[in-house]
């Protein structure tokens, strides 16, 4: 028995190791693609940084280009970037005048907090709505739940965000504080600032999640084992929560994986409207400013996060459904 468990544990470790090793070719291909595609798109990083260059002669431009290492052949630039990156130096932002890793460390907590709060709201709101809609199919409760889902699916979150700002200011003469307030320093101020954008993001993701929960629950509720559970005389609550919900969660968890990765890597529009300096805004501005070191590295960071969350989701499948073996 113990040997069996040990064997299972080793198999799981091997599975995780294999998955982690698969990061390498993915990251290599993404880094290559990102690096070269950024050089192909029009617009000069140096000119974008300078804002304009009238008065700067060619020699001065070349000198500035040399200072930034932009005058070297592209393969050399790529290898230098990757080589330094593996040693922990991902370069300096042209625009922010600081190391890229510092820029990521400054912005990631903002997006991560927003993403985690929004995700929590999604779970709390979407799962009950989806379950009730499925259990009370075609009742008024179901219609209300579906109306909620359709509404938040159809109205873009940035539009709701702008409306919320406009109406808060118009009716209450108040808007959330701008900039980012560290929750360790001022938890109330931080909550004041984050709760509305998190609600908007959370409700938007709740809409799609609620629909998925409803659909999968409806499918599961028609399965034979549910009928068997009911025939055994189990209470309805037990049938729903212990038997139906757990089995309907696999597609939901898959969707949550994708959503969570998107949420914690930043929501550009919400961050812009609410004046939050998160990863989304960092990336968006960096693309506009041709701040290549930021864009390249942030994309790699996104890839790592997405791969890791997917790995966690794959491991969760085994917990939700013991028939799924990762070995």
């Amino acid at each position: 028995m113990a040997a069996g468990l040990q064997g299972k544990g080793t198999a799981m470790q091997m599975y995780i190791l294999r998955r982690l090793l698969s990061y390498i070719p993915v990251l290599f291909l993404v880094s290559l693609f990102t690096f070269f595609i950024l050089r192909v798109i029009p617009g000069d990083a140096l000119v974008a940084m300078m804002g304009e260059r009238q008065g700067m002669n060619q020699a001065e431009m070349e000198r500035a280009r040399h200072e930034l290492g932009l005058d070297r052949p592209l393969p050399v630039q790529y290898l230098s970037w990757i080589g330094n990156g593996l040693r922990g130096d991902w370069g300096r932002s042209f625009w922010l005048h600081k190391p890229v890793t510092d820029a990521i460390l400054d912005t990631f907590p903002v997006s991560a907090q927003l993403g985690v709060m929004a995700f929590a709201i999604t779970v709390v709101v979407a799962v009950p709505i989806g379950i009730v809609s499925a259990v009370r199919q075609d009742s008024w409760v179901d219609y209300v739940g579906r109306l909620f889902a359709i509404s938040f699916l159809s109205i873009p979150s940035f539009f709701i965000a702008i409306l919320s700002i406009v109406f808060l200011a118009r009716w209450f003469g108040w808007i959330p504080p701008r900039g980012y307030i560290n929750p360790l320093r001022d938890p109330i101020g931080n909550l004041e600032q984050m709760i509305i954008p998190a609600l908007i993001l959370g409700l938007t993701f709740s809409a799609s999640t609620a629909r998925i929960v409803r659909t999968t629950m409806l499918e599961v509720l028609r399965e034979d084992y549910i009928r068997t559970a009911r025939a055994k005389g189990l209470r309805e609550r037990s049938v729903i929560w212990r038997h139906a919900l757990k089995n309907s969660l696999i597609p939901v968890v898959t969707y949550w994986g994708v959503s969570l990765a998107a949420l914690i890597t930043g929501s550009v529009l919400i961050e812009v409207v609410y004046g939050l300096n998160g990863m989304g805004r960092l990336t968006y501005d960096a693309i506009n400013q041709r701040d290549w070191p930021i864009v390249q590295t942030v994309i790699l960071f996104f890839v790592v996060i997405t791969l890791t969350i997917n790995l966690i989701i794959d491991l969760l499948y085994g917990v939700l459904d013991p028939r799924i073996q990762h070995a």
């Binding site: 029009p42 617009g43 000069d44 990083a45 000119v47 974008a48 940084m49 300078m50 804002g51 304009e52 260059r53 009238q54 008065g55 700067m56 002669n57 001065e60 200072e67 625009w95 922010l96 005048h97 702008i162 700002i165 406009v166 808060l168 200011a169 118009r170 003469g173 108040w174 808007i175 504080p177 701008r178 900039g179 980012y180 812009v272 409207v273 609410y274 004046g275 300096n277 805004r281 960092l282 501005d285 506009n288 400013q289 041709r290």
Partner: protein, 593 residues
């Protein structure tokens, strides 16, 4: 005298029906308003100077809190010593600065911080008592200046003796001297965006620790005005270190930069050792603190204004401004006709492309645009069709000009346009315009495109983002035409025309080369008589309008709204350009509440 009111928007016209009598009375009370300011030609630059008192002109009040063109100083603002209140925090918006080196970019983004932290030798008179349409140079770090050679080849600046750098590293409160000026000017002359203007300098001399003399290679009457624009005195301790000058800002100015968070904002606190005295006999500035935020979303900006997190707001159009007045009825909102400002819409032709070498083709394109209809469609008819031109109208006209003043090539004449195209063999003309800026978020291109289609000209637009457009301009890599004409504003009229149109000029993006124009451009640099110089400038204006190296169309007016408690502030910067180039006036502004 041309009436100092404007037609256009029907609702405004209705409002104005009840105003003429009141306005006339007010004009009389103000001593004739516009005519009073016309006594001194505005086309020239003072060649010597001290403090020049501003003249206050007419006010056109068109709705509660909503003014047009000029807002006279209130009694409270006229009696500063009696009414000024010290303290308070001003909250404004700014654009995220990419760096802080004034030699590397002459951008509004950098100007914000530079205007608070640094001084220049001279500056323009700004604020409630200043005339927004007339350049008046006033002392900054130079307490006076003289043109010491009658042919405008030598200028001497006498510096203040009691000035110290801010008491922060790396300057640590050391005294400011002429050597600081000489060294930074030599840097500006040898490299950087100011080079076009400093290249006329043969050498800077330092007769003593508080005098700086500029000996020029050729006459340049606008040199003092250029100093008022470009002479931010950055300490050598910063600019000798290329990293420091990009990220730090320590000067002799009224505010100390307390913090800078990229993409978020900056905070400035008053410099306790500032050298300039206020009207109350105590050192300036009156404000304790300025907080500037990066707030790119207009809806969020407006919400922030309503919630008191911003004290200034730029309405996107009249409806937006009216909406603001509904919830913030005490807002002061001023509309200013724009000079040619930073970003102007029009067609800028690549003069090296054979399609545009024939003047008749360029004239035909210009004459195919119905500017009055265009103006009504996009800008409430405020300009009556008058279009942006190469140089700000304030330098060459006494009053906001009319479309008629712009000559025959600006008049809508599709029949003549067709004839010209036929004569030039360009009946089926097609060209591409690279497009970036859309004025005030509107599609400024489509109406012009439709008008050109009426005379058989097909124009395609190719939209690009900001870095792409700037790169294309900088490297002169647009094939046929580009719609955005970026350029640094300037207190000097020469700055608006010389580098743009002189053969091979630093801002001559479209390759203009015209010997007659070159001669006129050089002549205006030499002419020390303001009236004669103004006549040369008018000749240049007529020539440029006739040549249509660019085809301009009407521009939106510049709008700025602010809280009524903010006193001694007017948004005009460089003769009608935006406040982002004029925020040094916050040194003398105060918050009444």
């Amino acid at each position: 005298m041309r009436a100092w009111t404007n037609g256009g928007w029907p609702r405004r016209r209705l409002l104005r029906v009840g105003l003429p009598l009141g306005a006339a009375a007010f004009l009389a009370a103000c001593g004739g308003g516009r005519t009073a300011r016309q006594e001194a030609p505005s086309g020239g630059t003072p060649t010597t100077g001290g403090t020049v008192a501003g003249q206050v002109g007419a006010v056109a009040k068109i709705a509660p809190g909503h003014y047009e063109k000029q807002l006279a100083a209130s009694q409270e603002e006229l009696e500063v010593a009696k009414n000024v209140r010290r303290g308070g925090t001003l909250r404004a918006r700014y654009l995220d600065p990419p760096h802080f080196d004034p030699a590397r970019a002459y951008s509004c983004t950098i100007f914000h911080t530079a205007s608070y932290v640094y001084n220049r030798l001279l500056k323009a008179n700004l604020g409630a008592q200043a005339d927004p349409f007339k350049l008046e140079l006033v002392p900054d770090l130079a307490e006076k200046w003289e043109m010491t050679a009658p042919d405008a080849t030598e200028f001497t600046f006498f510096l203040r003796k009691n000035v110290k750098w801010q008491n922060l590293p790396p300057v640590n409160g050391r005294p400011f001297t002429a050597e600081d000026v000489k060294l930074v000017f030599e840097r500006y002359a040898s490299a950087g965006v100011q080079k076009d203007f400093f290249s006329v300098v043969d050498r800077f001399e330092m007769p003593d620790q508080y005098t700086i003399k500029a000996r020029l290679k050729e006459p340049y009457v606008d040199f003092p005005a250029t100093m008022a624009t470009y002479s931010f005195i950055v300490p050598r301790e910063l600019w000798l270190n290329s990293d420091k000058v990009m990220t730090e800002a320590v000067g002799t100015g009224p505010f100390i930069r307390e913090s800078w968070t990229p993409k978020q904002g900056s905070t400035f606190v008053r410099n306790p050792d500032y050298w300039e005295m206020g009207a109350d006999g105590k050192p300036l500035p009156y404000l304790d603190r300025i907080e500037v935020l990066v707030e790119p979303n207009p809806a969020a900006q407006k919400a922030a204004y309503r919630a008191g997190r911003l004290h200034l707001y730029v309405p996107t159009d009249n409806a937006d401004g009216d909406d603001l007045l509904k919830t913030s009825p005490n807002t002061v909102w001023l509309d200013l006709p724009q000079s040619r400002g930073g970003n102007v819409n029009g067609f800028q032709f690549n003069m090296n492309n054979p399609k545009f070498k024939d003047k008749r083709v360029r004239n035909a394109i210009s004459m195919a645009i119905d500017r009055v209809a265009y103006d009504e469609l996009l800008y409430d008819g405020l300009n009556k069709g008058y279009s942006a031109t190469a140089m700000p109208w304030t330098f060459i006209y006494d009053d906001f000009p009319s479309l008629k003043d712009q000559g025959p090539t600006f008049q809508y004449n599709p029949a003549e346009a067709k004839k010209l195209l036929q004569a030039a063999g360009a009946e089926n003309l097609e060209f591409e315009v690279v497009e970036y800026y859309l004025t005030a978020g509107r599609d400024a291109f489509s109406p012009a495109q439709d008008m050109l289609r009426q005379v058989g000209i097909k124009v395609r637009n190719r939209r690009v983002d900001n870095p792409t457009a700037i790169t294309m301009l900088a490297e002169r890599k647009f094939e046929e035409a580009i719609n955005m004409v970026w350029g640094p504003p300037n207190h000097s009229i020469d700055g608006w025309i010389y580098p743009w149109y002189i053969t091979g000029g630093g801002l001559n993006y479209n390759g203009v080369s015209n010997p007659e124009l070159d001669n006129l451009l050089r002549a205006q640099r030499r002419e020390t008589d303001n009236r004669k110089r103004r006549e040369i400038l008018r000749q240049i204006d007529r020539l440029l309008n006739d040549q249509n190296y660019e085809v301009w169309w009407p521009q939106g007016w510049y709008r700025e709204a602010w809280i009524p408690a903010l006193k001694n502030f007017r948004p005009q910067g460089f003769l009608g350009t935006s406040v982002c180039y004029s925020n040094e006036q916050f040194t003398r502004a105060w918050l009444a509440e």
